[in-house]
Point group: C2
Chain length 387, copies 2
């Protein structure tokens, strides 16, 4: 195990009927809230009404900032920052999934500085402060509700970049599995892909010295996410399946499985960021396209670990590591397809000619993330395995 | 999964060479520290010198409070409270294992109140404040370094009671696996027993609704603790084995595996508390005696879960659940014996006549913990299975 620091102070309030606590939790941090949400699904699901009622009951003044889209964009974030400053809000509340939470985080930072917030994404400056952030989760995938990261796309140049700062770690997140009952089958599937691939990129990083504990935590969570997602697709209102998926997805990327593994590089996520920055497809859909291709590219460098995955998750009995690893990758790809997530660029209507453009964009990110082995040529090779 | 609140703000600084950071971490909370430790093992291991040097480098004034024994007693805690008040310390630093940390927690509470601290253990009053607590861990077992609980024995009446309060959640804990290199084989074994049984009592509580995620986390941690302990007993200075054991033991009782399982009752821990309160044996040694007896008592009420444990941990192939469950219990008992932990009252020189006294004491605790099914007669029956 490598040295690490683990600190995750977010308070999780989990379970049926818990959204009514958001007013009380928010009141600990201020009297006036910027409520950030998406494009209306929270109104259809009833979550919006529950949140408003609870905030009003705690006498909190509400400023609404709706309209966050998936793959949230900087221009919209900047409007939110303006609004937060103009209204002098004390606290930012995200009601949604990763896109909404990441927008809220960036607004919380921007409201406390005169800096150009994009400098933080470019890692040109370090975040020094932020308004307190709370969340009510309506899509479980990103774990942004319990981590210090945010991803935003700057439309100019299609740059999908991220920052990390302890200042944006949410204070309190409410996870009520019933809020997911109306999540579409497509987004339920993308959520599973996102959570699984978050862990797998770290998993393949876990070697020399190998930490068996983290591998076991990851394998346990992947099994749980897979079986829960299969139930969810048959019965979207199965409480236990939604609950197991929801908590597993949060633990999947809150620092727990990565602690002790050293710096986790996320090359498949990097390539996907460029893909969805240019083609604006859902992050999970992009990942189910890119991740199998990346695994086919990476398997020969570490057949032992890929074989372990195939054996632990799918019970593959093949003795040859490379064959077992390849079979495992095929099984994951088949599973992504079985839950309705695309597994080729073709399925997402991304033309072969797009590969060069995605690779060029991804290479900028590879440099920012310090992934030196990922030259434009390597990225093109990986993307060709995703056709 | 049941509703839960999860909040664990302790900062963990993990790894080789990390003890030197304790000065810097302590300085965030004050300039004068009460340094609590045990009976000298920290001096032999070199941890004491590392801690003192780091505190001095950060210009922190040190008041030493040594002499904590395992099964720490109230009379000693009270001396620590007097000293902390008299010296006006800002912060309490525990350098040791669960006994030292629990002593430090109780001192931190007592230093901020005129109440009789025993009232908190009797649950007659609620803790309202405490000095900040930091820890440098030298025995990994209790997870007290990352949880809000403390256990202290009041000599009069041999009452081994506990409290929980967010005020005593450690601010920062330093976990350096090299600090465990000199831990004796006996205490290395007891640590494993303690950590495993913490999780197993929760595990058997996890039903209706069953949460597969938590079971998998527990199973992964138990496997890791077992294989690490076997390596440790062969080579006490195996860094990776100590590291895997250390982090698994902390995660075993920091709230993670219990989240979503509902109120976790710990009947075997309850009986052991009385056993070690009266006979003053190491907590882990007491647990390896009591826990198998409790499992033999409990297996018929939940053969499915006991069978799952036997199959997952030991690969037992028996199809009949009760038989598989019984075989699993025998295998755990054999494993405890194989690492050198006692598995019968006889081995610990506790006479058969002692059973009545232990049961009487445990019944008081059963009432305090709300374990209504555990009458004196039931506890006697369980203890008879431990002879």
């Amino acid at each position: 195990m490598r040295n690490f620091v683990f600190e995750n102070p977010t308070k999780i309030v989990f379970g049926r009927g818990q959204i009514k606590k958001i007013g009380c939790e928010t009141a600990k941090f201020g009297k006036k809230v910027l409520m950030v949400y998406g494009q209306g699904s929270v109104k259809k699901s009833g979550v919006y009404d529950q949140v408003i009622a609870s905030l009003q009951e705690s006498d909190i003044e509400i400023v609404e900032f709706p309209g966050v889209k998936s793959n949230p964009v900087l221009s919209h974030v900047l409007k939110g920052i303006d609004l937060a400053r103009r209204e002098g809000v004390d606290v930012v509340l995200a009601v949604g999934g990763g896109s909404v939470i990441d927008t809220a985080k960036t607004i919380a930072v921007g409201a406390k500085t005169d800096d150009d917030v994009w400098d933080y994404f470019m890692r040109a400056k370090t975040i020094q402060d932020a308004l307190p952030i709370l969340t009510v989760v309506t899509i479980s995938a990103s774990a942004s509700e319990m981590n210090p990261a945010a991803v935003i796309t700057k439309e100019e140049g299609a740059r999908k970049f991220s920052f990390r700062s302890p200042f944006v770690q949410p204070k309190t997140s409410i996870l009520d599995p019933t809020a997911l009952f109306t999540l579409s089958p497509a987004y339920s599937a993308y959520s599973a892909v996102d959570a699984i691939t978050h862990m797998l990129e770290g998993y393949f990083n876990n070697k020399e010295p190998h930490s068996p504990l983290q591998d076991r935590l990851v394998e346990g969570m992947i099994k749980t996410i897979m079986e829960s997602t299969e139930v969810i697709l048959r019965d979207p209102a199965d409480y236990d399946a939604r609950a197991n998926m929801m908590w597993a997805a949060t633990l999947a990327f809150n620092g727990l499985t990565a602690a002790g593994m050293g710096m986790t590089s996320l090359p498949a996520h990097m390539i996907e960021h460029s893909l969805s920055a240019i083609y604006d497809i859902a992050h999970g859909a992009g990942l189910s396209i890119v991740f199998p291709g990346w695994m086919f590219y990476a398997v020969e460098q570490d057949p032992v670990k890929f074989a372990r995955l195939g054996r632990e998750i799918f019970g593959i009995e093949e003795n040859d590591n490379l064959k077992a690893g390849m079979e495992g990758i095929n099984r994951i790809k088949e599973w992504f397809a079985s839950i309705g997530s695309p597994v080729s660029l073709r399925e997402a209507d991304i033309p072969g000619e797009g590969i060069g453009k995605i690779a060029e964009n991804a290479h900028v990110l590879a440099q920012a993330w310090g992934l030196r082995n990922y030259t434009e040529e390597v990225i093109v090779d990986i993307l060709r395995l995703c056709k």
